[in-house]
């Protein structure tokens, strides 16, 4: 190898009050402002139809914004079409050109941006090597497996050394095992080269695993932005709490506040929790299923519950229990001595984990 290496020209992406309205009536993205730092991997996460793909396509320039501005690397690109933006995209269907060989696919953008033959070939090889497909350049896309096609699509986008690299659900056509492997590869390449990557998925586990930051979208707006840990441990509202990892949402009452700490009454027990800016009055408590423990013996500050359903799922147990304020979903890692359906047991919340949320919005 003569030392041709794929570099990064990572740049930041900024949305300023961006809206997209299709056909005058469908608002797919509604007044969104966000900042994506250069060199980070940010995922757009949310339920189907919330506007993730539309957001991504606006970064690419494949959709024109209806309102607002988009800046890439500090420059206003709002009016630039996709052709003129220094942004590459990996499509869900990969969109490899079926009549061109792997090498031609990867060289396509290089030729168009005016590199000479030798340079194009060198970069094409470097790109294929980067994704572990060195020597595949003579094959046709139809002669590759799904995972290999996916990597060709990544190489094709990478070799242009774009300011921003976009992925729209890149793993959805792969089987579960391959998915984990490919997502780790993408993350590795991104970190090695320091690329700015925007990544769309509706799989929250995938988002948690690969992202520097996650943007959760809901009905054309941003529900919350933050690091994976922020979102998981300090969701801002019930939607985020439930969407990122499951959560039990329990009605509760804040009875007193002292500094940052609040006394919260749930049924018969009282907890001291971080107030998170909430005042005295009704609130909601979000508790992850694995932050609840069940025990046959009574302990301090717990409550009596009845187990109504027991499911064995291999590496943990799932319980559905009836408490005085409703049903809860609990995960326990104790599989060897499971609790039986109908048993009366005692429930307690972990010290960290339950999060106070504003009452129903």
């Amino acid at each position: 190898m003569t030392g041709t290496r794929i570099k990064s020209n990572a740049a930041s992406v900024v949305f300023e009050g961006v809206s997209k309205i299709y056909g005058g009536s469908v608002t797919a993205v509604d007044d969104v402002s966000l900042t994506i730092e250069a060199g980070t991997l940010v995922t757009l996460l949310g339920p189907s139809g919330c506007g993730k793909t539309t957001t991504l396509r606006m970064i690419a320039g494949l959709e024109q914004v209806s309102k607002g501005r988009i800046l890439i690397g500090g420059q206003d690109v709002t009016a630039l079409p996709a052709t003129d933006r220094d942004v590459s995209m990996v499509f869900q269907s990969y969109a490899l050109f079926p009549h061109m060989s792997v090498g031609e696919n990867v060289s396509y953008g290089l030729k168009l941006s005016g590199h000479d033959k030798a340079e194009t070939a060198a970069r094409m090889r470097a790109g294929l090597e980067l994704v572990g497909l060195a020597g595949y350049d003579e094959r046709l896309p139809s002669e590759l497996s799904g995972g290999q096609q996916q990597r060709v699509a990544v190489a094709r986008a990478l070799v242009l050394e774009p300011q921003v690299l976009l992925f729209d659900e890149p793993l959805s056509n792969l089987d579960a095992k391959l998915r984990r492997q490919v997502r780790e590869e993408i993350r590795e390449i991104q970190q090695d080269l320091g690329l700015t990557v925007v990544y769309v998925t509706h799989d929250q586990e995938e988002a948690l695993a690969v992202s520097d930051r996650i943007i959760v979208m809901r009905q054309a707006r941003i529900a919350q932005m933050g690091t994976p840990r922020d979102l998981y441990e300090a969701p801002r509202n019930a939607f985020v709490a439930d969407f990122i990892g499951e959560a039990n949402l329990i009605d509760c009452e804040i009875t007193a506040r002292a500094g940052d700490s609040a006394s919260v009454v749930i049924g018969s027990i009282t907890l001291e929790l971080d107030a998170r800016g909430l005042g005295v009055g009704a609130a909601k408590l979000a508790v992850r299923p694995n932050r609840i423990s069940l025990s046959r013996r009574a302990r301090k500050n717990d409550m009596a519950v009845t187990i109504i359903k027991t499911t064995y799922v291999g590496n943990h147990m799932e319980y559905r229990v009836a408490a005085e304020f409703g049903e809860l979903f609990v995960i326990s890692s104790v599989v060897d001595q499971p609790l039986e359906t109908g048993a009366n047991v005692f429930l307690s919340f972990a010290d960290t984990g339950p999060v106070l949320l504003p009452p129903a919005e």
Partner: protein
């Protein structure tokens, strides 16, 4: 203004490219103005004789700059200014407003000036009295625009495209905007302009004065609208004749098409592919050939007629000349078209729906009445309207078989070529015909729109279509078998007829007709094409071969714009490009004669007018083929290409075209074949030098030289069969595994 717009775009190529493009265009404009003859050349551009005949100084061949330099046609001088104006934009970036302004001024100004001078100066100087009064007599005249003018107009269109793109129209892509501009300009000049000229022709008296009464006289004439046949023993107006013919043929072909569709899908008939092969017949058969065969069968000296005379002593009559003959010929010719429409419809009625109805306690008849029939109704209406339009527009069969039964399409022809030479009447008749066919076309679009009920339950559930009940099956089979028998007989007649000395009178076999038409011989100079048909045969091949790729290209570009691009006025754009489908050939023929025999566009008696006529008549075929196959290409291929830095032209040429190879091939071959079989428009446009096969054959028929006419038709049919077969092979090869690179 934001500061960002002044900065270069991220992919630096964009700015440099647009400057390079201006240089290229300026170069092309220079070639057009300095090297190519500005005006049309009487002896033909491609003969090249002009090169040795005083070019570039002689004013009939001189390029624009030579004309001006010699002080001739000085009114053309501003064009040079407009063409050179973008020089000022060379140092500008395309995001600067002045860049767009310069290019738009150059393009619109240039085209506008070209049109203005073209229409205000005619063959006798000023066209309008007011201009003459203002500027004094001109003392000069206009000729038809030639290749120099053509090329410079193209440059002007691209200037406009670049200007609009710089302003951000349609994503700011020069190729897309220019392509839209070209298609609009071409459709405007070669479809709308001639039709408008024709409308104008209908209100112009022989002396050139305009008068509405002339139009109303001709338009409402007894010949057209008379209803005498209902009461007295005179014939009805041609409009009623045409209408009756259209309705009968539309209804009959729809019914027959349905019969075939039922046989193909609901009878357990396993030779569906043979039935589908029948649909090739109307494509490869010149329309009037069926009429000829019917004469051989049922004419005065026809086989059947003579047989009946011998056997039953029936006196031969001319009964077949008229409505019965035309209906018979058109039914045989157009049923395959109806079949093609209806097989989709019948297949689209999902058996699951019918079975669902039956599980809901509907008996078979109720199921048919409440489910099957309503689902098929739009398709049937569609087939009927198609048959109606085809029948109304058909020219060959009524000409050959019409007898005293006059229809609009033939009447138009006779008012122009006959002793009458009454262009206003031809125009009025053409308007009547156009109103009918456009009415059907509108009905088809408005009423059926693009919605089809068929198949909206998604994929079939894998169950086969139920069989028809026996009561229905027997008559359906009988009808289909009879039709097939007739078709076989007809084509047998055609092949056999070419070898018969004089049909019905002297039945000895001979190859005389073939040797008369296609004989070759030797002399000192080598091979001589002695046969009388060679001239028209080669001309036809040549014209069709030039027209076909152009048609396909225009059709595919249009399809690309329609499928892949969003722009204001797209519906109108689509409508305009599909319109020529509903304009009968005779109407196109008349309107071309009226529009293109005077400057600024003077094309009559050239080969170019034939090529153009074919391009615009067959364009909808190319558009449909393109739309159908482009819809199957995933849009993300385009988008991937765009995000990799390709502009629309690069995407179109590197990604879309290579993937559309089969569609391109199909479009090329079908427009080739259609150009070879067309007659209705062609017959107005042929000239001594450019005679086409079909019009030559019609000429032989009019001289009662049936033998040669039929021999020639047979040759055409086999040539086209070979072409279509070659196409099928090529497409098959193209889809079976793509070429692998070593």
């Amino acid at each position: 203004m934001t500061d960002a717009t002044l900065q270069p775009p991220f992919r630096a190529a964009a700015g440099a490219n647009s400057n390079r493009m201006i240089m290229v265009l300026l170069g092309v404009a220079l070639v057009a103005a300095l090297a190519l003859p500005w005006y049309v050349i009487e002896d033909g551009f491609w003969s090249g004789e002009w090169l040795l005949d005083g070019y570039p100084l002689d004013s009939s061949y001189a390029p624009l700059i030579f004309l001006i330099a010699q002080g001739q046609k000085l009114w053309l001088a501003p064009l040079i200014g407009f063409a050179a104006l973008p020089l000022l934009a060379l140092r500008r970036h395309r995001s600067e407003p002045v860049y767009a302004k310069l290019l738009l001024t150059a393009g619109i100004g240039g085209l506008g000036w070209l049109a203005l001078q073209g229409f205000s100066i005619g063959i006798r100087g000023w066209q309008f009295g007011a201009l003459e009064a203002a500027f004094g007599p001109l003392g000069d005249r206009q000729f038809g625009l030639g290749y120099g003018a053509l090329l410079i107009s193209a440059v002007f269109v691209v200037y406009i495209g670049m200007g609009m793109a710089a302003r951000g129209a349609v994503g700011g892509d020069v190729f897309v905007v220019s392509a839209i501009g070209f298609v609009i300009a071409l459709v405007g000049i070669f479809i709308f302009f001639p039709i408008l000229q024709m409308l104008q022709g209908a209100v112009r008296a022989e002396d050139g004065a305009y008068s509405l009464s002339i139009f109303t006289d001709k338009f409402f004439h007894r010949n057209i609208w008379g209803l005498g046949c209902l009461s007295a023993n005179v014939s009805c107006g041609v409009a009623w004749n045409s209408l009756l013919l259209g309705v009968v043929v539309g209804g009959a072909t729809t019914a027959l098409g349905l019969v075939f569709a039922l046989v193909a899908t609901r009878s357990g008939f396993r030779y569906g592919r043979i039935l589908r092969a029948l649909t090739v017949l109307p494509i490869i058969t010149p329309p009037f050939v069926i009429g000829l065969a019917i004469i051989l069968l049922f004419g005065l000296s026809g086989t059947v007629t003579q047989f009946a005379a011998d056997l039953f002593g029936l006196t031969p009559t001319r009964w077949v000349y008229g409505l019965p003959g035309i209906v018979m010929a058109q039914m045989l010719a157009y049923t395959p078209i109806a079949f093609l429409v209806l097989i989709g419809v019948v297949e689209g009625v999902s058996p699951a729906m019918e079975e669902a109805a039956q599980t809901l306690r509907a008996d078979r008849w109720t199921t048919f009445r409440t489910i099957t029939w309503p689902l098929m109704r739009p398709g049937l209406a569609n087939a009927f309207l198609l048959g109606f339009i085809e029948s109304m527009a058909d020219f060959g069969n009524p000409l050959v078989l019409g007898g005293n039964y006059n229809v609009l399409s033939t009447e138009i022809f006779f008012s122009i070529v006959g002793a009458q030479n009454d262009q206003a009447r031809a125009a009025a008749l053409a308007i009547v015909l156009l109103v009918f066919t456009l009415g059907a076309f509108f009905a088809q679009r408005r009423w059926l729109g693009n919605k089809s009920y068929a198949g909206n339950t998604g994929k079939g559930d894998g169950c086969a279509h139920p069989q028809m009940p026996r009561r229905l099956k027997v008559p359906v089979y009988a009808i289909a078998a009879f039709w097939c028998f007739m078709t076989l007989v007809i084509y047998g007649m055609i092949i056999y007829g070419g070898f018969v000395e004089l049909w019905g009178l002297n039945n000895t076999l001979t190859v005389r007709h073939y040797s008369d038409a296609f004989g070759v011989g030797w002399n000192a100079g080598g091979l001589v094409w002695r046969g009388s048909a060679w001239d028209s045969f080669w001309t036809t091949l040549q014209i069709a071969a030039i027209a076909a790729p152009l048609t396909a290209m225009l059709g595919l570009v249009t399809a690309y714009l329609l499928v892949r691009q969003k722009f204001a006025g797209k519906d109108a754009f689509e409508f305009g490009t599909m319109l020529s489908f509903a304009i009968p050939g005779t109407v196109i023929g008349v309107s071309y004669i009226l529009a293109f025999n005077v400057p600024p566009i003077e094309l009559t008696a050239t080969g170019a007018i034939l090529v153009l006529c074919f391009i615009f008549r067959n364009m909808p075929v190319g558009v449909r083929a393109g739309i159908a196959s482009m819809a199957q290409l995933d849009k993300s291929l385009d988008e991937a290409s765009a995000t990799l830095g390709a502009n629309a032209w690069q995407t179109f040429s590197k990604v879309i075209l290579p993937l559309l190879r089969p569609a391109i091939l199909a479009a090329v071959v079908y427009s080739f074949v259609r150009a070879m079989t067309a007659i209705s428009a062609v017959i107005f446009l042929v000239s001594a030098e450019y005679n086409m096969a079909t019009s030559y054959i019609i000429g032989r028929v009019e001289n009662n030289d049936y033998g040669l006419a039929i021999a020639y038709s047979t040759v055409l049919i086999f040539v086209m069969l070979a072409v279509v077969a070659a196409l099928q092979l090529l497409i098959l090869k193209g889809t079976k595994g793509r070429p692998r690179r070593a």
